[in-house]
C-alpha cells in the first residue's frame, strides 16, 4: 500500500498572512439536478448537513457541502472517510441520474489566515473581499491569477482555498508573493 501525500505535503509560509497547505482532504464531486430529492438526500445524509444555498457552503466539524453550480455540489469529508461516505451516497442515489466521484487526489487545499488574509486574497482574485460583501458561509468559485480556484471563509480571518492539484505549486507561489512581508495595502 502506498502512502497518500498531498500536493505540497503541508508546506507553510509566514508573512503578511499565514499560508499553509492543509494536507489531504476528502472531496467528492456530486453532479446532477440539485432539485432532485435523492440527490439532496445523498448529500445531506452522508454529511449530516443541510443543503447549501446558492453560492454558499455548509460545514460542521467533520464535513462540508459546497454549492458549485446548479448541477454540482462538492462534498467534503475526512480523507480516509471518502470510501464510506461515497458508499452511503451511492446507496441513497440508487438509480437516480447522478454522478458521485472521489476527486480528493485531484485537488489541493490551502488556508490563508490572519488579520491581512482578505488583502492577500484580494491581490489575486477579481472578487470584492470587503467584510460587507464576503463573509463566512459564502462559497465562491472564481480565479486566482491564471487558474480556477474556489474558496470560503472558516472565520473572519481565515480563508480555505481549493485548486487543482496540478497547479498547487503555482497557487502556493502566488499566495507567498501576495503575502510578502511589508506588502500591506491597508484597503480593508
Amino acid at each position: 500500500m502506498s502512502e497518500a501525500v498531498s500536493a505540497l505535503n503541508h508546506a507553510e509560509f509566514d508573512g503578511l498572512a499565514h499560508v499553509r497547505e492543509i494536507g489531504l482532504q476528502g472531496m467528492i464531486t456530486l453532479r446532477g439536478d440539485l432539485k432532485t430529492k435523492a440527490i439532496k438526500n445523498a448529500a445531506t445524509k452522508a454529511t449530516g448537513l443541510s443543503m447549501p444555498a446558492m453560492n454558499c457552503v455548509e460545514t460542521n466539524e467533520a464535513n462540508g457541502l459546497c454549492w458549485m453550480s446548479p448541477d454540482e455540489l462538492l462534498v467534503m469529508c475526512a480523507y480516509d472517510e471518502v470510501g464510506s461516505t461515497l458508499a452511503k451516497m451511492q446507496k441513497t442515489l440508487g438509480k437516480t441520474h447522478a454522478l458521485a466521484v472521489n476527486v480528493s487526489d485531484a485537488r489541493a487545499v490551502f488556508q490563508v489566515s490572519g488579520p491581512f488574509a482578505r488583502e492577500v486574497m484580494a491581490k489575486l482574485c477579481p472578487v470584492d473581499f470587503s467584510p460587507e460583501a464576503f463573509q463566512p458561509g459564502l462559497f465562491r468559485r472564481s480565479r486566482m491569477a491564471q487558474v480556477p480556484a474556489a474558496f470560503w471563509m472558516c472565520d473572519e480571518q481565515t480563508f480555505q482555498i481549493i485548486c487543482f492539484r496540478s497547479v498547487a505549486d503555482y497557487v502556493f507561489e502566488l499566495l507567498k508573493a501576495a503575502a510578502q512581508h511589508h506588502s500591506e495595502v491597508d484597503y480593508y
Partner: protein
C-alpha cells in the same frame, strides 16, 4: 472593466468568463446539401458596430453557458440569460 450579470451568480468580473462566439449564427438543416449555407455558417460573420448577441461561458464560476447582448462600441452589457434552451 466589463462586468457580466450572470443569471446564476450575479454581477461578476469579465475575466471569470470566456467568449463563446456569435449567437446570431443558425446552423443549416442537417440535410442541407448546398455548400453556400455551410460556408456562411462556419466562416462568415458580421462585424457590427453596436449591439451584438453572443455566447459567453462562465468558465471560472458556475460553468453555465450564457447568451448576452454586448455593445461592441461601448462594451455595455445588456440582457444576460442562460443559453440552455435558446440554441
Amino acid at each position: 472593466m466589463i462586468r457580466i450579470n450572470c443569471p446564476v451568480c450575479g454581477s461578476r468580473d469579465e475575466n471569470e468568463f470566456t467568449y463563446g462566439g456569435d449567437a446570431n449564427v443558425v446552423r443549416p438543416a442537417m440535410d442541407e446539401a448546398e455548400t453556400g449555407p455551410w460556408l456562411d455558417y462556419v466562416f462568415m460573420r458580421d462585424n457590427p458596430r453596436g449591439p451584438h448577441r453572443e455566447y459567453w461561458h462562465h468558465v471560472m464560476g458556475c460553468r453555465q453557458w450564457l447568451m448576452l447582448e454586448r455593445d461592441t462600441l461601448t462594451h455595455e452589457i445588456g440582457d444576460c440569460i442562460l443559453a440552455r434552451g435558446v440554441a
